[in-house]
């Protein structure tokens, strides 16, 4: 990946480096998360500072060593100084916007009457569909109006936007806008949509093997999966400043600034170049702000464009939850056959998802669900169909894991059911079916390279004392009346890449200033995951400068255009790689300059002569093709960037002369004075991706992130109340750039997945109004719900050749391990002589109690 002239020397001492890296990796691997944190604490600030001193010896500096440095915004986060959209100070002539949304699931708009607003002092303007220049958008299919025109298709669809001098007046004005509807026939469930044949896109198929191959045993059923709200703490927020000559400056809480820019421009009838979208950071996104931030930005931008005044639109949590889409609900019909030992012979699964009223990303989500029905298991004969249904709910959208969790929930449920049917431990069924040598081709024809699953299963089984605890739990369930316990160990194999090939590209701009400080700007949006810290670490280690010299800039379409959303766990992969590429080009020029300077008397250096013009200007040889190995081998020197110094050694004089060394910042200045650019823009694309959506076959992913989790639950027999007693997680994240941030992603994603399968219950009324639209009714996990014992370990895996520096993406995969809590509940229920089962997500207390007490005469 790196393109600097030091490659040769790096090859030279790579075995030594690799060795030290392996030692380091071994030292830090398999460390319990608690120990990890307490060691960080004890080491205090020495942790970060001393490691820099160590680097000054030079040997390690070119390697990306895992650090555990805090998030780059940690100190401003804890001080309340981090700026979010609504923290921007109010401008003098600023307007506050409020939205008016549909109160019908499906209806014709008969009239919109804002006459009562006009009497309101401070009311300024209203916009409706008539004010939208191009009233149509959509991330895949352009099927959604920005402001509803003629017809509304879901409760919460935006009909109009008002603006006023204060927020209170804007809210009052919104209440005074009278919209008359004529209700139309509506479709509120997947079943209804199927019976009316209301679909979005055609039926998709992914299949392999013999449709007639069947095993002697069978499990069948229907799995119902509800959606979940993202519950990012920062609700959607936009501030738009109209600048001179039609330019709109949009500050949005968007995971996809480029799409936001485009949707705003089209809505306002502007060129894309007339809109700048800037995202400093998000107070959480989780997929919810990937596509759906764009129209919300457009409401505010339309108002700013129309009134030519700064405008602000901040959704309340209630409105945000009512308006925006959730994780897609799914219904899955399945039929799986298997052998006496639990080996799966065939899986037939029909997936239906509820897209809500518009396509949004639902077809891509369905695709990922279908691609993850195998999860960690080899299924020889497999027939998956997927159909996206159109209903009158808010348009559902991306949510961490995309479709993955739905496919994985299905196969993990099947594992539990097989185990019950043939009376063996579910872990044995999983190990019997897992991807392993010779059984490592997925149903879409991609080989599972660098497959760590066998060792992950084996290690975690041992580490978490699975067998001993299994016995304890059986004893407990026999001898205790008030609670039952369950234990389940599940896996995740998550494909990393956008399945839509063109999204797998990124770009980065690197500016090095004359004092040696560095600015990096990429298309990645910082939303808590630490993508900025990771990229800064990569850059600082490549340049051999302290990480605090690298400032990550806000994400702006002004610097990085045509970017992909920060989604699909890909933020660091594509944007980090682009930054590395840019750094490589800069380093190449600096190295050449350093080599020349090393042979030039200091009096003749540009800093001594350039102002006077007394020496000829240094010219670099024509650029080296970064891909050309021969050329690199021809270099007669090596160059190290380390600890703020650039060190040049000439091969010819390696034993006779001391190495030449120059301060990084001085070298940068010499470069500037020699009219050599120390800034670079690079574009990066992931190679070798080729998934054919029509045949359902091909190289869908660059690589897989894998992991396993064992969860133990205790359920109150009287109430169905679940406690998660203990969770052990073992992840393969390749060679992490920042181990602490990665572990934070693991614990956070796991608990989010756990919430989805347990307490997070979306309840709608008949009109599709979400009744659980605030934290008092929609219950995300609380600190009391976090597992009582929570051990997170990373394995040591240097073998991920596919990605730069052997790293693996972490954002989404651990969420799918939350499913182990759900299967642990299944496991607990199965301990009853009646083998009670539930096939619903979330398993709320009520769902569990129903499963436990079928005798209580429930009406359906």
């Amino acid at each position: 990946m790196t393109t600097s002239p030091n490659t040769k020397s790096a090859d030279g001492d790579c075995s030594e480096l690799a060795e030290s890296r392996r030692k380091e990796a071994k030292r830090r691997s398999l460390r319990p998360v608690n120990e990890h944190f307490s060691s960080t604490i004890n080491a205090e600030s020495a942790n970060s500072k001393q490691s820099l001193v160590k680097n000054s010896k030079g040997q390690n500096s070119r390697q990306t060593k895992a650090t555990s440095q805090p998030h780059d915004s940690a100190s401003t986060h804890v001080s309340g100084l981090s700026e979010y959209v609504d923290d921007r100070p109010e401008m003098q002539n600023e307007l506050h916007c409020a939205v008016i949304y549909s109160t019908e699931a499906h209806a014709r708009i008969l009239s919109i009457d804002a006459s009562e607003c006009n009497t309101l002092d401070g009311f300024v303007d209203i916009i409706t569909a008539a004010d939208v220049h191009h009233n149509c958008w959509g991330p895949i299919f352009k099927d959604q109006p920005i402001l509803a025109k003629d017809v509304v298709q879901y409760y919460g669809e935006i009909v109009a936007v008002v603006a006023a001098k204060t927020l209170a007046i804007a809210k009052l004005a919104a209440k005074r806008v009278k919209v008359c509807y004529e209700p139309l026939d509506c479709t509120m469930s997947i079943q209804e949509a199927i019976s009316k044949r209301l679909f979005i896109g055609g039926e998709r198929k992914i299949q392999r093997g013999d449709p007639y191959a069947k095993g002697p045993h069978q499990v069948t059923g229907k799995l119902i999966i509800q959606g979940a709200d993202h519950f990012y703490l920062e609700s959607n927020a936009v501030v738009v400043y109209p600048r001179e000559n039609r330019l709109l400056e949009v500050h949005s809480s968007s995971q996809h600034p480029t799409e936001t820019q485009h949707v705003v421009a089209e809505a306002c009838g502007l060129a894309f170049s007339d809109v700048i979208c800037i995202v400093k950071r998000l107070g959480g996104g989780f997929g919810g702000k990937e596509s759906q931030a764009a129209p919300i930005a457009a409401y505010c931008a339309l108002m700013a464009h129309k009134t030519n005044r700064p405008c602000r639109l901040i959704l309340t949590k209630d409105d945000d939850m009512i308006i925006t889409g959730k994780r897609n609900p799914f219904e899955i019909f399945y039929d799986c056959t298997f052998q006496d030992d639990g080996a799966i012979i065939s899986l037939d699964a029909k997936l239906y998802s509820d897209a809500g009223a518009y396509a949004d990303l639902s077809t891509a989500i369905m695709e990922r669900a279908m691609l993850h029905c195998d999860n960690a298991y080899f299924i020889p004969n497999i027939f998956i169909t997927g159909q996206v249904c159109k209903t009158n709910h808010h348009p559902h959208t991306a949510f961490r894991g995309f479709g993955g969790p739905k496919g994985v929930a299905l196969i993990e449920l099947i594992m539990e059911k097989i185990a019950i049917q043939i009376s063996i431990d579910a872990l044995n069924v999983r190990k019997r079916n897992m991807y392993r040598p010779s059984f490592d081709i997925t149903h879409y024809g991609q080989r599972v390279e660098n497959n760590m699953l066998p060792s992950l299963f084996e290690s975690l089984e041992k580490e978490c004392h699975y067998k001993a605890r299994r016995k304890e739990i059986s004893d407990w369930n026999r001898s205790h009346q008030s609670t039952i316990k369950g234990l389940s160990l599940t896996a995740v194999k998550f494909g990393i890449s956008f399945t839509t090939r063109f999204l797998n590209q990124g770009n980065a701009l690197v500016n090095i200033h004359r004092d040696g400080s560095v600015q990096v700007s990429t298309g990645a949006v910082e939303m808590g995951q630490g993508v900025n810290q990771r990229i800064a670490t990569l850059v600082s280690s490549e340049l051999g400068v302290p990480v605090d010299l690298v400032r990550m800039l806000s994400t702006s379409t002004e610097r990085n255009a045509n970017t992909s959303p920060t989604a699909a766990s890909s933020g660091t992969d594509i944007n980090g790689a682009a930054a590395l590429k840019a750094i490589g080009l800069i380093k190449e020029r600096l190295a050449k300059l350093a080599a020349i300077l090393s042979k030039t008397p200091k009096e003749q250096w540009p800093s001594q002569t350039a102002g006077l013009g007394t020496a000829p200007e240094i010219e670099l040889a024509s650029p080296i093709n970064p891909e050309s190995k021969e050329l690199k081998n021809k270099l007669d020197y090596e160059c190290l960037f380390s600890d703020g110094q650039v060190i040049v050694r000439h091969h010819s004089s390696i034993n006779t002369q001391p190495a030449f060394s120059i301060k990084f910042s001085d070298l940068v200045n010499e470069a500037y004075l020699s009219r050599i650019s120390v800034c670079e823009y690079s574009h990066f694309k992931i190679e070798n991706l080729g998934f054919n959506k029509i045949t359902g076959q091909g190289q869908a992913f660059l690589y897989f992130t894998q992991g396993v989790a064992a969860s133990e639950v205790e359920i109150c027999r009287y109430t169905g109340d679940v406690k998660v007693r203990r969770v052990d997680i073992l992840m393969d994240l390749g060679r992490p750039i920042n181990e602490a941030l990665d572990i934070g992603q693991v614990t956070g994603a796991f608990v989010q997945g756990m919430g989805w399968v347990t307490t997070e219950n979306l309840v709608y009324n008949k009109k599709g109004l979400l009744l659980t639209h605030s934290p008092s009714t929609y219950k995300i996990p609380n600190i009391q719900d976090t597992p009582r014992e929570f051990n997170v370990h990373l394995i040591d895996n240097d073998g991920n050749q596919a990605n730069f520096k052997g790293t693996k993406a972490v954002g989404e995969p651990p969420l799918l391990l939350g499913i182990s809590v759900w299967t642990a509940i299944q496991n607990a229920l199965s301990s009853s002589p009646k083998h009670l089962q539930l096939e619903k997500i979330p398993a709320t207390n009520e769902v569990i109690l129903r499963a436990m007490h079928p005798d209580l005469g429930w009406t359906i």
Binding site: P89, T747, A749, P775, T777, L856
Partner: protein, 535 residues
């Protein structure tokens, strides 16, 4: 106005005269504040004295900080006191101990800050040097997106200030931290790193807020002002009235024409206010009336004044009624409990009622006061007669609840409170039930005396189940008979009650829970009998 009235707490009123008119003609202050000197609202914000305008007094503190004071560090997420992102610390000299405790500033009116010292996230560090809490949060990676972080930092600072972490074994620290952080939601971290930060905070007296923000002068100034009447507002805007005499409060209520909200705390009103469901013209705050802050424990009874917070009740009930303490542990968050009052919960009259089923089995009595013919008229209403319909009570329109009394457990009292909610902590119950049995013990025989059973979430109000109590009275209990008795009761009770289906659970679920709560009770009671040597 009819006798029946809606008792959303605070209480909505219709009245005949506009207060602002009263102020305008100058008669009001002389009429209602004859016995006290009125003072304007003032408090300390991060050590600086602040005197808000009348308009500011009606803002929620979080909005005011963000939009008027240029202090956007305090975040607003839910605006209903459920997520903790808006946590700030207050010290109130009206309380026994002058500690900084966390509250939800999104449901706390600026006017309520009168006579208090407030510290926000902007007041925690020492210049650019981070506090021990901030350091721990940073080093332990306790923040990801950062939006909940200021709230967590404030709650954790409150934890350090409370000294609850002093001298406890490491193993218990985690539990204490978890309990203290129940009112803060985080969607990024899964809480593990935050708990690590909480357990690894160093204690540095230099950062102690008491030292920094409560010097002698400030304390004296605050204390000399807290029991004084505040009054703000003009004819254009709403009115703020916070008298120091009950009589003045009652007169104000009687004379008001426009909608008045009575502020116990603002934990319920704040939600309605933020969500546009209540726009009162006048606020009547009770916090300056000293008598309402009193609580008293006598050998047989407990008495709690209208201004006593749930947290204070919890403190008072330690070593007195452990089941009540258990209930209060999982009811609401520390931020809410620090300000919300027990009377507020009673006045709110929710059908589920949180504390109400328990207070019902403890024979609680509600004391109300009103003005009648120029004199204060006090009424005693047993709690089981207090609620007369969905969110309606026997409280008359010009009355206030001043206090509540309830029984302390007698010897041989066996009591259980069961609550089920979607999430165990900080969640409104789907259903709750309390059973109290006074048992007579003779030989190896237990006889039930005065059984009291109350259920919330199964009808328009939380209520005693007298039919069952009658059946249980004088029953002789053994391990077998309790099973039969509870089983029979569960069957009969389910015929009597007609619960609703809502987003918290279906009617069937609630019925199933009743049955199971009785089974659970039977199981726990048998264990108790076993421990007493009853066959």
């Amino acid at each position: 106005m009819a006798k029946k009235k809606t008792v959303k707490h605070p209480i909505e009123k219709k009245s005949t005269r506009n207060l602002s008119a009263g102020i305008q003609n100058g008669s009001l202050s002389t009429r209602i504040s004859a016995n006290s000197k009125s003072s304007e609202i003032f408090f300390y914000l991060n050590g600086q004295e602040v005197r808000p305008t009348a308009e500011e007094a009606f803002m929620m503190t979080a909005d005011w900080l963000r939009k008027r004071k240029g202090m956007p560090g305090t975040k607003i997420v839910c605006a209903e006191g459920d997520c903790g992102a808006c946590t700030v610390l207050i010290a109130d000299p009206r309380k026994e101990s002058l500690d900084f405790v966390p509250i939800n500033s999104c449901v706390y009116l600026v006017g309520q800050l009168h006579g208090k010292s407030v510290v926000t996230i902007e007041g925690i560090s020492n210049g650019s040097i981070l506090s021990p809490v901030q350091n721990a949060m940073m080093k332990c990676h306790g923040s990801q997106c950062g939006y909940c972080t200021p709230g967590f930092v404030m709650a954790l600072t409150g934890l350090l200030e409370s000294r609850k972490m002093d001298n406890i074994p490491a193993a218990q620290k985690r539990k204490v931290c978890t309990n203290y952080l129940t009112g803060n939601l985080c969607r990024c971290t899964g809480y593990a790193p935050i708990l690590d930060a909480a357990c690894n905070m160093t204690d540095d007296s230099n950062y102690e807020l008491k030292h920094r923000y409560l010097n002698e002068k400030i304390i004296t100034t605050l204390k000399s002002n807290i029991w004084k009447t505040n009054q703000m507002g003009d004819k254009h805007g709403p009115t703020w009235y916070s008298p120091n005499q009950l009589e003045d409060a009652l007169k104000f209520l009687k004379n008001q024409k426009s909608s008045v909200k009575i502020l116990g705390s603002t934990t319920d009103l704040g939600v309605l206010y933020n969500k546009g469901k209540s726009q009162p013209n006048a606020f009547l705050s009770l916090q300056n009336i000293k008598a309402l802050h009193a609580s008293k424990v006598t050998p047989k009874q407990v008495q709690i004044g209208a201004q006593v917070s749930l947290e204070s009740v919890r403190g008072a009930m330690k070593n007195i009624d452990s089941e009540f303490v258990n209930l209060l542990n999982i009811f609401a968050s520390p931020q809410i409990k620090n300000v919300a009052t027990l009377i507020g919960n009673v006045a709110n009259g929710s059908p589920i009622g949180d504390t109400i089923p328990y207070l019902l089995v403890r024979n609680a009595i509600v004391y109300t006061s009103g003005i009648s013919q120029g004199k204060i008229r006090e009424r005693k209403i047993p709690l089981d007669k207090f609620y007369i319909g969905y969110k309606t009570s026997a409280l008359e329109s010009q009355e206030l609840i001043t206090k509540i009394t309830f029984d302390r457990p007698k010897a041989n009292n066996f009591v259980r409170h069961y609550k089920i909610s979607t999430r165990k902590d900080l969640d409104i119950s789907t259903m709750s039930m309390a059973i109290s049995l006074d048992c007579e013990f003779s030989g190896h025989q237990f006889t039930i005396k005065q059984p009291r059973i109350a259920i919330g979430g199964m009808g328009p109000t939380a209520a005693r189940i007298y039919s069952v109590e009658q059946k249980w009275e004088h029953q002789i209990l053994t391990k077998t008979t309790i099973l039969d008795l509870t089983h029979e009761t569960a069957c009969s009770i389910n015929l009597e009650l007609s619960p609703l289906s809502d987003h918290r659970g279906s009617a069937d679920y609630r019925r199933a829970l009743i049955t199971n709560f009785f089974s659970k009770f039977a199981s726990e009671f048998s264990q108790f009998l076993e421990s007493m040597g009853v066959p």
